[in-house]
C-alpha cells in the first residue's frame, strides 16, 4: 500500500467515520501517494470514459455487444481494472458512470464485492462524479439531472458508504459547460470540477495566463461560497499526452525494456515524457500537473495500460538519481485537487459559463442544442410523467406499487440525461433505444398511476392512457365499445399558485372566462414578424473549412436564413375556449397561433417536416420573432431550466472573441426560456424542450426547431443526422409549442417562472370508458395549504419503504422579481393527531420536520441525496433559490 485508506485502512469505527464528516475532508484522503514538494509532480490518473450510450446502446456497451460498431465492453473493463489494481497496490483508478457500475456490481459474488469494497476503502478505486451518467449540460433540465445524480450517488452511498463518495465532479466530455451544472455540483458538496472541452480561443488565453484552473462562482443568487466550485481544465481533453496511449485501442509504442529484444526504447520514452511534462507545467500554476491516462472505453484490458505505466513511473523516477526534478505518481483527481488546495493560491474567478464550445474557427458545437427535437421533447415529457408517477406513489401509498412498476422508468430517464442521449448526438439506433426505454418505463408508470388514482378517488374504474394523442390516436376512442363520455384528468403540479390535485374535471370545466386583451404586440408577429426560416447546411465543401453541419456542429452555409414562404394558407378559428390562426407556409412547415381564454400567453404550435433534401442540402429550420424591443444585441437564455444568463452577440465575458461564425458562434442552449428586453418590454419565449437559439438582430429572437443533415460532422458519431422512421419514411415530422409572453421586465419573471414549470410538468390525461361512481372523489391535494409562489415542489418521491424524499426550492433569481425574489418561509408542520386521514399524505407519512436554511447540511457528504431534517420550518432565502431543500420524513 502506498498510503492510508479512506477509512484509515478500514480500521476506523462508525463513530470515527461520523467524526470525520465534520472535520477537514483532506484528512480522509490519506491514501494519496506522497509527492515531492521540490519537484514537478506529475499525477497520472488512469481512467475510462464510458458513454452511457452513443454509437451503441447502453446495454450493448455494457456487454461488449456489437463490437463491429465500436469495440467497447464495460463489463470487461471493470473485471480487468479490479484484477489489475490487485496486482500492485500503488495503482489507482477512477470510475465515473454508475449506470454501468451498477450493472456490473449486481452480477458479482460476495467475494468480489468484498474485494472491491476494500479497494474503495483504500482509495485505490475512487468514484468520481458518480451520477448514473455524465449528463449533458446544454440540453438537460436540472430536475432530471438532480434525479440522475441522486440515483447514482445513492447507489454508491448504499453500497460503499463514505469511502464511495465522489469528491470531484468530472465532466470530461460534455460539449460545453453550463453554469447551473457547476452550481448543482457545488450544492451537492463536490470539492472540485474537472472537464476537458472549452472554446479553443478561451483555452489558448487561459494557457497563456495560467488560468486553466479557476474558481467558478456558479450562481448570481446564491450567497458565496454556496455555489463556488474549483474548476480544472484538463490538459489533453481527457486523453493521454501524445505517444503515451497504451490501451488496446491505441497504437503508441509500448515500453520495450528487454535489452535482449529489438528496439529497446526506454531512453526515448523517458525523454519524450520529460519534455511533455515540462511543456505542460508551463501552462499551469503549481508544481503539480495532471495527466489523464485513458479515454473512451479504455482499460478493457487494463494490463496493457498498467504494465506500461508501472514501467514509465519506474524509469522516469529513476532519472531523479541523475538529477531529474520530475516525480511521477499514480493519482486521482481528488489527490491532485488536495495538492492544489495545499498550494493555497488564489484562482481566477469565473461567473459566466462555457458556452458555446468551438474546437476551431468554423466548428461550433451548437447544433446539438437542437438535434433530434422529437427525442428532446419525449425526454421532457417523460420527466413530467415520471414526476407524476413518483408523486402518486407517495400519495397513493403502498397499494399503488402493485404491478410491474420497478425502477426502470427512473433509470430510463437517468440514462437519457447522458451527453449523447438527450443531446441528440447518438446514432439513430441508439436514439431509438433511449426512446424505447422511456416508453417502457412509462408503461410501468401507467400501472402505478392507475393504482394511485384508484386509491385517491376510491374508484377502480379502468383507466386508459392515450399516448398517441399527438397524432389523434387513442385506443379508447377507437374501440368498438360505445364511448358515452370522455373524462379528462388533470393532475396539477404545484405551479402558478394552484397547489392542488384535481381529479375528473372536463377540459371545458377549467375555462370559465375569455380575455385576450394586452396581446396586441404579440399578434403583430403574424404579418409576418414571427416567421419560419431555414438555413442551408454547410456540406463541408468550403474554402475556409471542410466542416459540415451535423449532429454536433451547426454551420449554415450562409448567415442569411431563407424565409420559408412570404405567404401562407391561413384559417382563423374562434370558440369560447380558444381562438387560433392556422398557417400553412409550405407542405413541410405549418403553425397554429393560439390564444386560450383567460390566458395572456400566446402559443405557437409549429409542425416541421419532412425537411426536403432533394436539392442535396441539409436544412436547419428556425422560427424567428422580430420585435421592436431595443435589445442592443443582448439576450438571455436559461441554464438547465434554472437561472438565466445574459448573452451578447459576438461577445464573451472573459476573453476577446474573434468571431468566425456569425450565426453558429452566437447560438446558446435554451432549456426552458429565452428573452429579450428593453426598459419597457420583455418578450419571453418558453420552450417545450431544449433548443438552440440566438438573437442575431436587434429586437429579434430565433429558435432552432428542426434539423436534417446529409453529412456526418466528423466528431465520431459517423452518421448524418437524417432522421426517418417507419411512420415518417420521407423524414421526421416534428411538432412543438412555444409560449410567448410579453410583460414589463420587472414582473416578467412572475409570469415565465410558473409558465416554464407548467411546460416542464404538464397535466397527465387518463380516460375511462364509462361514468364514474357517484362516490368517486374528483379532487385531491397532498398539501394542506398552497405553497408560496416562489416555492417550487421539485421532488416528492418514495425513498424507501419507510421514508419519502421531498425537495422544495425557491424558484426565482435574486434580481428578477420585485415580488417573488424574496426569502420565504414554508411551514410543513403536520398535525400528528390526524395521522390516519388518507387525504393528508404528508401527515400520513409522518413528515418529521424541516432543516434550517443551510444548517447541518454543508458538511454532509451526500448532500444531494438527502437533506438533514432538524426542525419543522424551511427558510427559503431568495438568494438560495437554486438551493434544493431535500427533506426526508419517515412513516
Amino acid at each position: 500500500m502506498g498510503g492510508q485508506s479512506c477509512l484509515g485502512g478500514g480500521l476506523r469505527s462508525l463513530s470515527a467515520f461520523l467524526f470525520l464528516l465534520i472535520t477537514d475532508r483532506s484528512h480522509i484522503w490519506t491514501s494519496c501517494h506522497a509527492t515531492k514538494p521540490d519537484m514537478l509532480n506529475v499525477h497520472l490518473v488512469p481512467h475510462t470514459h464510458d458513454d452511457v450510450g452513443w454509437l451503441k446502446t447502453v446495454d450493448q456497451y455494457y456487454y461488449g455487444d456489437r463490437n463491429d460498431i465500436q469495440h467497447a465492453g464495460v463489463q470487461y473493463i471493470l473485471d480487468s481494472v479490479v484484477d489489475q489494481l490487485l496486482k500492485n497496490p500503488d495503482r489507482r483508478f477512477i470510475y465515473v458512470e454508475t449506470a454501468f457500475f451498477y450493472r456490473w456490481w449486481k452480477r458479482q459474488d460476495s467475494s468480489m464485492k468484498q474485494t472491491v469494497q476494500q479497494l474503495v476503502n483504500e482509495g485505490r478505486l475512487e468514484f468520481v462524479n458518480g451520477g448514473w451518467c455524465m449528463s449533458d449540460e446544454a440540453t438537460t433540465h436540472y430536475s432530471a439531472v438532480i434525479d440522475q445524480m441522486t440515483m447514482g450517488l445513492r447507489f454508491l452511498n448504499d453500497t460503499f458508504g463514505v469511502c464511495g463518495r465522489p469528491r470531484v465532479a468530472w465532466h470530461i466530455d460534455p460539449f460545453g459547460h453550463a453554469r447551473e451544472h457547476a452550481s448543482m455540483f457545488a450544492q451537492m458538496g463536490y470539492d472540485g470540477f474537472f472537464f476537458g472541452r472549452l472554446d479553443y480561443q478561451d483555452r489558448y488565453q487561459r494557457m497563456m495566463q495560467k488560468e486553466q484552473e479557476l474558481l467558478w462562482r456558479a450562481s448570481d443568487s446564491l450567497t458565496p461560497p454556496m455555489a463556488d466550485l474549483f474548476t480544472g481544465i484538463l490538459p489533453n481533453g481527457y486523453n493521454p499526452p501524445d505517444g503515451f496511449c497504451w490501451d488496446q485501442s491505441c497504437s503508441d509504442p509500448p515500453i520495450r525494456d528487454d535489452p535482449d529484444l529489438e528496439d529497446y526504447n526506454v531512453d526515448d520514452v523517458v525523454k519524450r515524457f520529460l519534455n511533455i511534462a515540462s511543456a505542460q507545467s508551463m501552462v499551469y500554476k503549481t508544481n503539480h500537473i495532471i495527466m489523464t491516462m485513458g479515454s473512451d472505453f479504455q482499460y478493457e484490458n487494463a494490463n496493457l495500460w498498467y504494465k506500461n505505466l508501472d514501467k514509465l513511473i519506474h524509469y522516469v523516477n529513476a532519472q531523479q538519481d541523475l538529477g531529474s526534478r520530475v516525480n511521477v505518481l499514480y493519482s486521482t483527481p481528488s489527490c491532485y485537487l488536495q495538492e492544489l488546495h495545499r498550494a493555497n493560491l488564489t484562482w481566477a474567478l469565473k461567473t459566466d459559463d462555457f458556452f458555446p464550445y468551438a474546437d476551431d474557427a468554423h466548428d461550433f458545437w451548437t447544433g446539438y442544442f437542437s438535434s433530434r427535437p422529437a427525442l428532446k421533447r419525449y425526454e421532457r415529457l417523460s420527466n413530467s410523467n415520471l414526476q407524476t408517477c413518483n408523486q402518486l406513489e407517495v400519495l397513493g401509498g403502498p397499494t399503488s406499487t402493485n404491478g410491474p412498476f420497478g425502477k426502470g422508468d427512473k433509470k430510463a430517464m437517468a440514462v437519457a440525461q447522458h451527453h449523447d442521449a438527450v443531446s441528440g448526438t447518438e446514432k439513430q439506433h441508439v436514439a431509438n433505444d433511449y426512446a424505447r426505454r422511456l416508453a417502457t418505463g412509462w408503461q410501468h408508470c401507467q400501472v402505478l398511476v392507475s393504482n394511485g388514482l384508484a386509491v385517491l378517488s376510491g374508484s377502480t374504474a379502468q383507466r386508459f392512457y392515450c399516448d398517441y394523442l399527438n397524432i389523434s390516436v387513442c385506443p379508447l376512442t377507437e374501440s368498438s365499445k360505445k364511448v358515452t363520455q370522455t373524462h379528462t384528468f388533470y393532475l396539477y403540479f404545484p405551479w402558478d399558485n394552484v397547489y392542488k390535485v384535481c381529479l375528473y374535471t372536463t377540459i371545458t370545466a377549467t375555462i370559465t372566462d375569455y380575455n385576450n386583451s394586452n396581446n396586441n404586440i404579440l399578434f403583430s408577429c403574424l404579418n409576418p414578424v414571427c416567421c419560419v426560416f431555414r438555413y442551408n447546411a454547410s456540406d463541408g465543401n468550403n474554402s475556409e473549412s471542410i466542416q459540415p453541419s451535423g449532429a454536433y456542429i451547426f454551420r449554415p452555409n450562409s448567415s442569411t436564413p431563407f424565409l420559408i414562404s412570404s405567404t401562407a394558407k391561413t384559417e382563423f378559428i374562434q370558440t369560447s375556449v380558444v381562438q387560433e390562426v392556422r398557417q400553412w407556409f409550405s407542405p413541410w412547415v405549418s403553425q397554429v397561433v393560439r390564444l386560450y381564454a383567460h390566458s395572456r400567453t400566446l402559443e405557437l404550435e409549429w409542425t416541421v417536416g419532412p425537411l426536403p433534401i432533394h436539392d442535396d442540402l441539409g436544412k436547419e429550420v428556425i422560427t424567428r420573432i422580430d420585435t421592436s424591443i431595443e435589445s442592443s444585441e443582448i439576450f438571455y437564455t436559461d441554464s438547465n431550466g434554472r437561472e438565466v444568463l445574459q448573452r451578447k452577440k459576438d461577445f464573451r465575458p472573459t476573453w476577446h472573441l474573434k468571431q468566425s461564425e456569425p450565426i453558429a458562434g452566437n447560438y446558446y442552449p435554451i432549456n426552458s426560456r429565452a428573452y429579450i428586453k428593453d426598459d419597457v418590454d420583455q418578450l419571453t419565449v418558453v420552450t417545450d424542450r431544449s433548443q438552440g437559439g440566438s438573437s442575431i438582430h436587434n429586437g429579434s429572437l430565433e429558435i432552432m426547431l428542426h434539423r436534417r443533415l446529409l453529412y456526418d460532422d466528423v466528431r465520431g458519431v459517423a452518421e448524418p443526422l437524417n432522421e426517418t422512421s417507419a411512420i415518417f419514411p420521407e423524414g421526421l415530422v416534428v411538432r412543438g409549442r412555444l409560449l410567448l409572453s410579453l410583460d414589463r421586465p420587472a414582473s416578467a419573471a412572475d409570469k415565465h417562472r410558473p409558465l416554464a414549470q407548467e411546460m416542464v410538468l404538464q397535466p397527465l390525461l387518463t380516460f375511462t370508458d364509462g361514468d364514474l361512481h357517484p362516490d368517486a372523489k374528483l379532487e385531491f391535494s397532498g398539501l394542506q395549504a398552497a405553497l408560496p409562489p416562489a416555492v417550487h415542489l421539485l421532488t416528492l418521491t418514495q425513498w424507501d419503504a419507510q421514508s419519502v424524499l421531498l425537495r422544495l426550492e425557491h424558484q426565482f433569481q435574486s434580481w428578477e422579481s420585485d415580488v417573488n425574489s424574496k426569502p420565504v418561509t414554508v411551514n410543513l408542520q403536520t398535525d400528528k393527531q390526524t395521522n390516519k386521514q388518507t387525504d393528508k399524505p404528508w401527515q400520513k407519512h409522518n413528515l418529521l420536520g424541516v432543516g434550517g436554511p443551510t444548517g447541518g447540511a454543508t458538511d454532509q457528504p451526500w448532500r444531494s441525496v438527502r437533506w438533514q431534517v432538524e426542525s419543522d420550518t424551511v427558510y427559503i432565502n431568495s438568494v438560495t433559490h437554486t438551493h434544493t431543500h431535500t427533506h426526508t420524513h419517515t412513516h
Copy 2:
C-alpha cells in the same frame, strides 16, 4: 480442480516420474475433465495462434508494438491467460510457440514462475507442439526444423520437466502438410498431430467419409509404427465455430444473460451451439468432437473468452436436465486425443502428403513455395553457417566461445523456420527483420569460427569473412593494405565420402582432373531444351475467379508460359578448372551453364531480375528442362530435404481430383531436389533453396525461380509480393544454382544424396591478409575414420558445458540405392587412454557410447532432444534412414 494433475497433483516423486515414462502415458493425463460416455462430448480448446513474425516482426508481436499494423501483443496474452486460468480451475489453455513463451518467461518473477509451473503440473496450461515456432512445412529443411524443435522442447523440458512435455503436434496454420514433418513428429514421440488446412476437395470427401481423423504413415522406409502418427483435421481451421468468437478482436454477440438488461440471448446461444455441435458430430467418427476456441493472437484479454465460455458450458450443460445429450467441457488436444484413443477405432491410412493446398478452385497455395527466393537462399546459407559454427564450437573447445557468441544465431535460424518466415508470406519489413537477425547471428558466429580455427590450426592470424562475395565485394580485397595472397578455407562437412576438415587450401588445389564425359544429354538443353520462361500472373480480373497471384497463391493467367527469349547473347569460357557457357536472354534473365573439372554435375547459375512490371503484369519466372525421358506425367519431389515422394500430374492418391488450375494445381514444394525418370535415365535437379516446381509435360521439369506480383492475394499479408531494396530499387535481382545430374535410376540416389547435402552444407570461406605461420595446421578432422556413405552427420553441437549433442542419420530411402539403402553400423568407440589428444575431439569429449537401433528411446518423452546412450555402436538400419540417432557424450 477438475481432475488429477500431470504429476498426480505435484505429489509424485522423481522416481515416480521415471516410472511413468515406461508406462501407459494416458495415466499421466488425469487432469482431463471427465466426459460422458452416453453423450456427445464437445471439447472446447482455448488457444491462441501467435505467428513468430508475419505482419509484424517477432519482437513487435511480443511487445504489442506497431498495433497500427495489427493488434497483437503476446506479452499481454500470456499475462492475461495465466490470470484467467487462476480464476477458475476448470479452465484450460494450450500454448504453442516457445519463441514467445521464452521471451515472456524470462521477465517473470519467481512467484509468477511458481504459479505457472503449478498450472502446468495440473494440466490447466498445456504446451502443444512446443517448438521455437510452428515451422513451415513446404519450404523448410529438416535439419533446421529439428534444430528449432529441439530449441523449443529443450526449453520446456529444462523449465517444466515432464509436465511441460508437449504430447501433440499442432500445425494449425501451415499451408499444406509435408509427410516428413509428420515423420519427424512421430519420431519425436508426439502422440498425435492436428492441423487446420487441407485441400477443400480432400476435406469434403473426408467429411463425407468421416475420415478427417486418420493414421498417417509418414515414411516409406521406417518400419511401422515408427513414423505412424494419428492425425486430426480440425473442424474450422483453427477458428471457433461461426458466431462463437468471443475474443476482443471478434464481433460475435457475447452471452447476454442478465434478464434485467436488453437482448437476453441465452436461449438463442444455446440453440445455435447445439445445432453446430450436432452438425459437426455428423462428420467425425466418435462421440467426441473438438472445437478450437481461439485464433490469431487471441486471448490478449482472455477474460472475454473465458467469461463467455464459462457461461456457454454452464447454460449448454444445464440443458441436460431437459433431455439434451450434449456435454461441453474445457479440454486440450491431449485430452481429446485420449478420448479418441479410448474409442479404440481403426482409422483410415494415409501414406502421401497434404500438398498442394487449395481453399477453392482457383486458389492454390503453391506460390509461396518460391516466394522471396533471396530470403529462402539466405536462410539455407545461414543454416549451413550455423552448422559450421556449432561443429567448431565442439571441435575448438571452450576457447572458441570467447566473444559475443550467444544463442542469437540459433534463435535467428529457429524463427526463420516459421510458416510466415522462410515461406516468404510475411510483409517486406518483416522479411527484412528475419534477414537482419540471420546476419546478426552470423556476425556472432564468425567470432566463434575464428576462435575455433585458431585453436585447431594453431594460428591466431586474423580471419576475414567476405559475406558479399556474391556481388564481388570483400572488405579484405578492398582495404588499402596490400593483399599478397588470398587463402581459401574449406570446411568440409561429412558429405560425399569426405569426412574431414581441410584448412587453408586454395580453390585450385581441389581440382586436379577434368572430365566432362557423360554430360551430353544435359548439354542438349542449351539449344534450348533448358530455358527460362515466365508466367504472367493473374491480376484477379477474371470471369472464373477474382483470385490474383500473390505471396501465397500461384495463379498464372495462362497455362502456357512465355519463353523469355529464343535467342541469347552467349559467351563460352574454358579453363583447366571449369568450362562455362554464359547466356544473356534478356536484360533481366541470364544464366551460366557450368561444368567443373572432375564433376559429372552440370551447374545452372541463374540470375533473374529486376522482373519488368511496366506492362502492369506480375511475372513468375521458371526454368524448364525438357528431356526425352519418358516420365509419363510422373515426377518426384523431396519432402523437407529428406524422403522423396512420387507426384503425378492432375492426380491425388486419395481422392478423385477435379483439376481447375492446370499449372498451379500441379505445383509441389522442392526443398532440395526433384527428378523425372524412365527405365533408363533419371534427371535429378538439386536446388540451393526451396522452390516450387512441377512436371507439366512428359519429360519436362520446371522450377520456379523468382516472382514479382502487383496484387495482394487476399490471404492477410495485405501487400503485393513486389520486392525492391536500396540496392535494387528497380526490383530484386536474385541469383541461384541448380545442379543437374543425369544417372541410371538405380544409382541416381548415390549421386543426388551427397550432392544435395553438399548444397545444404556448403564450404565456408575465411581469408587472411598475409602468409600463415609455417607451423600452422592446414588440415583437421574430428573423425578418426570416414563415416559410411549412407551415414550423415546431422548434428554436432555443444549441449551444455559438460556434453555435446551428436546426431547421425541414414540418409538413403529404403528403395533408392542398391548400394546404400542398407543397414549400416558405425563404431564410435573411443580410446579413453588417449583422452587428452586435442585433435581427436570425440575422444576429448569422452563420447560415452552409442544406443541400440531403437532401444530404450521409444518411450522417452523428449526423444527429439537427446538420445539415450547405452553402448558403443550405432546400428543404422536402411529402413530407419530418417531416424536421427542423437547421442550425448559428456566430458
